[in-house]
Every structure is written in C-alpha cells, then in structure tokens.
C-alpha cells in the first residue's frame, strides 16, 4: 500500500523590515532549539577533545622512554586525572547528547524536544561544569608543590580524596564539576526519554521507530540510574571533606570499598551510556551503505535493552582485586560474561546486514567498518578481563587501558567520525570532502593501531597504570615509544578532520535533501532543516518511511 505524499512548500513570509535582527551571539546564547543546542554540545565537545588530546600527548612523551624528566609526577598525575575526566564528562557525554539532541526529534517526526528550556539549561550547566574543571588550573590549591588541578584520578578513590590526603581544593573542583555535569546529563536524558515516548509522529509506534531513537531511549534511561549514584557519592565525599562526616573515613570505621562500589555502579553503566549511541550511529549508517534493511530489527532492540539492564549488574568486575571473596567474584564474572551474548548478537546482525548487500565504501561507511573490527576486538579483550583470575594480572595495568581505549576511541570515536561525515550534509547542506575524509581515516587508523595495539604488551609485561615513569630494566620502553608515535598520527588525522569540517562549510558540494539515498525521516526535510523541522507532521507506516516512498511497489510496511 503506497504512502501518499504531500509537497510541502515553505510558505513562511520573509520578515518585514522592522526592528534590527538580533545578532548571532544573542541568538545562540538564548536558543532553545534542539538543533542549535545539539550543535553547541558538539562544538563544545570537539574543543575539549583537542584539549584532552594534548593532555594525552604530553603523557605519552613523558612515558616514551624510561626515567624521563619531561614532566614532574605532580603534573603527570593531574594530566591523567584531567584527561580521563575531560574525555568522559566533557567530550563523550556532550558530543553524544549533541547528536541525540539534533537527530532524535528529526527522526521521530517531531518539532523539537519535549522540554526546550530544560534542554538549554542542561547544556549551559554542563558547559559551565567543564569550564569550572579547567578553572582549577588557576584557582585551586592542592598538595604542596602540586597546587591547582585535581590529581586523584578520574575515579577519585577514597581515602586518597579525603581532606587529609588531598588538602586544598583541587579535589573539590573535580567533585563539583562532575556533579554539575551530572545534573546536565540527567536533564538531557529526561528530555530524550520524554521526547521519544510523547512526541513521535502519527503511525510511529515504538516498533516502527528507527534504531537510533531506540538506543538513545535505552541510553537515557541508563543515565537516570547510573549518574545518580555518582551524584550521591559526590555529596557524601563533599560532606566528608567539609562537614567531617565519615562516609569514606577509614579511621572512623568507614569503608574505602564503599566508594568503589558507588563509583563503579555509576562507572560501568556509564561506559554503556557512551557506547549505545555509537551503536545507534552504526545502526543507521551500515544499512544505508549496504543498501539493505537492518537484519533482525526486533533482536537489535531486544539486545540493546538487555545490554542496558545487564550493564547495571556487572560493576564489580572493576573490583576483582579488592578481595570480595569467591562468591562475589563469581557472580560478577557470570554477569560480565553474559553481557557478551547480546553484544555478540548485535555484531552478528551487522554482519548479516552487510551480507548480500551492495557495499559502498564512502567515508561514513569506512569508519563504521573499522568500528566493526575494533569493537569485536575490544569485546574480546573484555572477555579476557572478565575471567577474574586473568584480571588479577591484567587489572589496573596497561592492558586495561588498551582495552577501554579500544572501546572509547576504536569504537565510539570511529562511529562518531562516521556520524559526522554522514549527517554533516543534513546539518549544513554541504558535503564533506571525501579526499580529506580518506586522509583523516587512514592517518587516524594507523595512529590508533600503533598506539592501542602495542599498548596491550606493556600490560602483559607487568606495567601498571597511572605511573609517571618506569624502571629501565622492565622491557617496557620500546613498546611505550611506539605507543607515543601512534599518538602523533592520531593528532594529524584529527587536525585534518577539523580542517575538513570548516572547509566543507564554505567550499563543500551542495548536498540537497538526501545525498545518501537513505530511508529515515530526517532525510525528508531540506538541508539544513528549517527551524520547525517538518512543515506538516509526517505519518509513517513502516520503519523506513522514505524507502516506502521510493519503492511504492515493495514497501517495508508489507513485511512488518
């Protein structure tokens, strides 16, 4: 049954020559439009990505040779704390919320998010939080001769964070900045869930919703139950530091392990919060560039939801070496291994989508191809870590660092790059340069593998994390050197990407509505979309409304 179509012509009158237009800055500062807010989140995150990247490069230079004196231990400890905190809270969360903000209303046929003013508030709170964290370099006092930025690690274990071991205010900058970021995250998550449940266009039952909003729904739900424990723990930490309470005060009978439980009850679901949107991007890009529908949509939804639930039960696999006892460790081994089943199902479904298709290796797709291999490897090293006794060796070593960077960079960042190249034409109306895109891809790929493949080895050779230098006789030097070289390649790729983003805005080819011949609602509106998104509220009959329009003889609605 073919879907009737309406030519919707934008009949908005040109504004009369009245009072002068408000200037650009005022517009962006006061906007409540989800698209502008989404772009601000993304731009903000890109700036912090570069800052966090510089922090990483400084650390890699220090570690390139044994007994190096490039950076003092105090500065190094601040660098890894800031690098981790920045990348998780001021790059990962904002950039993914940014994409969600921009795309979710468009993909469900809505006009904006459910609570536009809350949306703006959440952005500005999060943005302030990042600036607050970096203000610590100027404003905070800390350990003698250390001053300034927090240096307790992004995970801020107790009792190192107690006032007696971390005097001054540097730790408090960490606590407050992350707390505020959490407030912003909960606000945006609330918006995403409400938008998806309450603002879908006619005919878009949950079972007809594209996979990106589904994954954002799971991700946002996770945020409520994951970020809140961290918020609670930070309130407790601040009470300890300032009012003399004893939550984590081991001298008064408090427990260092309790902080770990609270932190990881946040920390583990947090990484799923970060990875689920990456899955979402791949779910949209891979079918379009394989020219096939997603294989096993119901299973993909079920797998994503179960990943969300199971991720709440695995947190203590970060604590296998704490001495929880055989029963505790065994439970968490089981839960962690079980999560590999729905994750594997997703990989197989992607494989089956590609299978029998007509694969086009445009830039968005090659980033997703790299994602597929790299995410597979990241999952497999995760299985190694889930075997608790193996983790007793691998835990807290560079093997773990390599594993999670394989997820954060090799999977999430690569999927994000794919998403940039894929949706940039929709946002700006211009295509990004394919040539520069290929340069970006290959440089970054080589750099990524040089750094993170070789990084596994020092971990296997006994190198722990968070050390500012190491002894010469351990056999770690050569590997660390190669790891550092890879960082340079990644930096080069990233700079080319940033250049591509700017250059294409002015010199890119015109994109039109639908440069990729795709099937979801955002490709039905002009590029860039008008502020109201859809002139008329759409009605959909299947998961791929534009496929139905383009193939009226064989619409998806016949098969669902």
């Amino acid at each position: 049954m073919a879907t009737p179509v309406l030519e919707a012509i934008d009949q908005t009158q040109a504004p009369p020559q009245g009072p002068p237009r408000p200037n650009v800055i005022y517009t962006w500062l006061t906007t409540v439009d989800h698209k502008k807010i989404g772009l601000m989140y993304i731009a903000y995150a890109l700036v912090f990505l570069l800052v966090g990247g510089v922090e990483a490069i400084l650390m890699r230079i220090q570690l390139a040779v044994p007994n190096n004196h490039f950076i003092s231990p105090q500065v190094f400890n601040q660098l890894f704390t800031m690098h981790g905190t920045t990348m998780v809270f001021f790059v990962g969360m904002p950039i993914l919320f940014g994409f969600g903000n921009y795309l979710v209303p468009l993909m469900i046929g809505a006009r904006d998010m459910a609570f536009p003013r809350l949306n703006a508030f959440s952005f500005w709170v999060s943005a302030f939080a990042g600036l607050l964290l970096y203000f610590s370099y100027f404003g905070a006092s800390g350990l003698y001769a250390a001053g300034s930025a927090p240096d307790v690690g992004w995970f801020a274990y107790a009792p190192l964070t107690a006032k007696v071991f971390s005097p001054g205010h540097s730790t408090d900058y960490w606590t407050l900045a992350v707390f505020l970021s959490g407030v912003g995250s909960i606000g945006t998550a609330l918006n995403i869930v409400t938008t998806i449940l309450c603002m879908r266009c006619k005919g878009m039952k949950m079972s007809r919703m594209p996979l990106l909003p589904w994954l954002y729904l799971v991700m946002a739900s996770l945020v409520f139950v994951a970020v809140s424990p961290l918020t609670a723990a930070q309130i407790m930490l601040t009470l300890d530091r300032y009012i003399g309470s004893h939550f984590f005060d081991t001298q008064a009978g408090g427990s260092a392990v309790l902080w770990m439980h609270f932190f990881w009850i946040f920390g583990h679901p947090e990484v799923y919060v970060l990875v689920l949107p990456a899955f979402a991007f791949v779910n949209e890009i891979v079918p379009v560039f394989s020219r096939k529908a997603m294989f096993g949509y119901p299973a993909m939804v079920a797998a994503s939801v179960s990943i969300g639930f199971i991720s709440l039960s695995v947190w203590a696999h970060h604590m296998f070496t704490v001495g929880l006892g055989a029963a505790g460790n065994t439970f968490f081994v089981f839960a962690t291994m079980v999560i590999s089943v729905p994750t594997g199902i997703k990989i197989f479904n992607w494989l089956a989508t590609i299978w029998g298709g007509k694969i086009i290796f445009a830039t968005p797709m090659i980033f997703c191809v790299a994602f597929l291999f790299q995410f597979l490897i990241a999952g497999l090293t995760g299985i190694m870590l889930s075997a608790a006794p193996f983790d007793w060796q691998l835990g807290n070593s560079y093997f773990v660092v390599a594993h999670f960077h394989y997820v954060l960079v090799g999977s999430i960042l690569f999927a994000l790059f794919g998403a940039f190249y894929y949706w940039y034409p929709k946002v700006t109306g211009k295509m990004m340069s394919e040539t520069l895109g290929k340069w970006h891809f290959w440089l970054f790929l080589i750099g990524f593998h040089l750094t993170f493949d070789f990084m596994h080895v020092p971990g296997l050779l006994g190198m722990p994390r968070r050390i500012y230098t190491y002894e010469a006789g351990r056999g770690w030097g050569g590997w660390n050197f190669i790891v550092g070289v890879g960082a340079i390649f990644q930096a080069a790729g990233l700079l080319i990407f940033c250049y591509n983003l700017v250059r294409s805005y002015y010199r890119g080819k015109e994109a039109g509505h639908d440069p990729w011949d795709a099937w979801t609602l955002e490709w039905a509106v002009p590029s860039p979309p008008p502020v109201y998104n859809f002139a008329i509220e759409p009605t959909v009959n299947s998961r791929r409304p534009l496929w139905d329009l383009k193939h009226p003889e064989d619409p998806d609605s016949d098969y669902e």
Partner: protein, 201 residues
C-alpha cells in the same frame, strides 16, 4: 539558493486516534527514577554501616519512632490527591483547601523533624561528625527533608496561585504532576522510616 520544499510522507486518515502520554507525567517519572537512585545509595550506605560505628550513641539509644510526623506526612499525600481530583471537577475552593492542608501537614512534618534533630544534637550529643550512625542518619533524613522543602515550595506556590484565582481546571494535569512528586517524597519517607527507625534500631 536553499531548497525550501520537502517531501514528507502523509497519510489521509488514520484508523485509531494517535495518543501519546502527557509530557509532564513522563518527565516527572524520569526525575523520580533518578532521585530514587540517589536515595537508594544513601539507604545502602545507611544499611552498610549499621552496627559498624566504633563509638558514640547507637540508634537504639537515641531514636524514637516519629509516629506523629509520619502520620502527618502520609496524610498530606491524601490531601494532595483530593486537591488534584477537586481541580479536575473544577471545584476550585476545594482544591485550595486541600492544597492548604497539604502544605500545613508537610510543614508539621518538617517541624517534628527539626524538633527531633534539636533533641539529638543538644541532648544526646549526636551530630553528623559523631560516628558512622550520625553520618548516615543525618545525611539520609536530611536529604529527604530537603526534598520535602522543595515540595513545599512548589505546593505553596501552587496554593498562592489558587488563592489568587489563577489556578484553573485546565491546569489539572500539571497539578497531577506535582502531586506525583509529593507522593514520591512520601514513599521515600516510608522506606526511610522502615530502614532507620524499625530495621536499624
């Protein structure tokens, strides 16, 4: 030149009416889930530290069941429910009366908590610094009291609107959302009461 036309799929007539939940209720439900998670962590800390204080007064030594305050707070859930249903039936005076009752009962609860704390601090020597019990008790009950204060501010504002005639039947859904928050605050008190005053003593 920007292309301003678009091709949007549109159906003629749709069979069943397309209704989705009210945004306010869903948003409040999300907030409640997040807040519940925060409370759960404080409750877990309380339970974890039961019996682990190395000094100072124990719960059994200093705590008394706050029966009166609890009855007031739980009754305020009933009054706010009636306020909401009164508004739905366009009974504006009834709504005002029940809102006032809710605010009053909530304020009485806060007063009983304040009195209890005064007694604990000045007569029993229990502060947040005293021991693990003090730490977890004041933080949990205090967090709840903070949420009661926020709720009372919102309810008082609504009461003010109602008294000045600005609260109308069309605001019914919004009052429903607020009462949802208030019911949550009461539900948390039930948990706190059971964990602190029953289980922990």
């Amino acid at each position: 030149m920007m292309n301003t036309s678009s091709t949007i799929p549109v159906e003629g007539a749709i069979e069943a009416p397309w209704t989705l939940p009210y945004r306010g209720t869903v948003g409040m439900a999300c907030l409640i889930v997040a807040e519940a998670a925060i409370f759960i962590i404080f409750v877990v800390a309380y339970i974890f530290y039961i019996g682990k204080s190395i000094s100072g007064p124990t719960p059994a030594q200093v705590l008394e069941l706050p029966i009166f305050g609890t009855i007031c707070l739980l009754s305020s859930s009933i009054t706010v429910h009636f306020a909401s249903s009164a508004l739905r039936k366009n009974n504006l005076h009834g709504c005002t009366a029940f809102l006032a009752g809710t605010v009053l009962l909530g304020a009485i609860f806060l007063a009983t908590t304040a009195r209890e704390w005064y007694h604990l601090i000045y007569e029993k020597g229990l502060t947040i610094q005293t021991n693990l019990f003090g730490t977890t008790y004041y933080s949990l009950v205090g967090l709840h009291a903070t949420h009661v204060v926020v709720g009372l501010i919102l309810l008082s504002t609504t009461l003010a609107f109602s008294l000045t005639g600005h609260l109308k039947e069309e605001h019914e859904k919004k009052l429903e959302v607020l009462s949802l928050y208030w019911h949550f605050v009461d539900a948390v008190w039930v948990v706190v009461f059971l964990v602190v005053y029953v289980l922990g003593r």
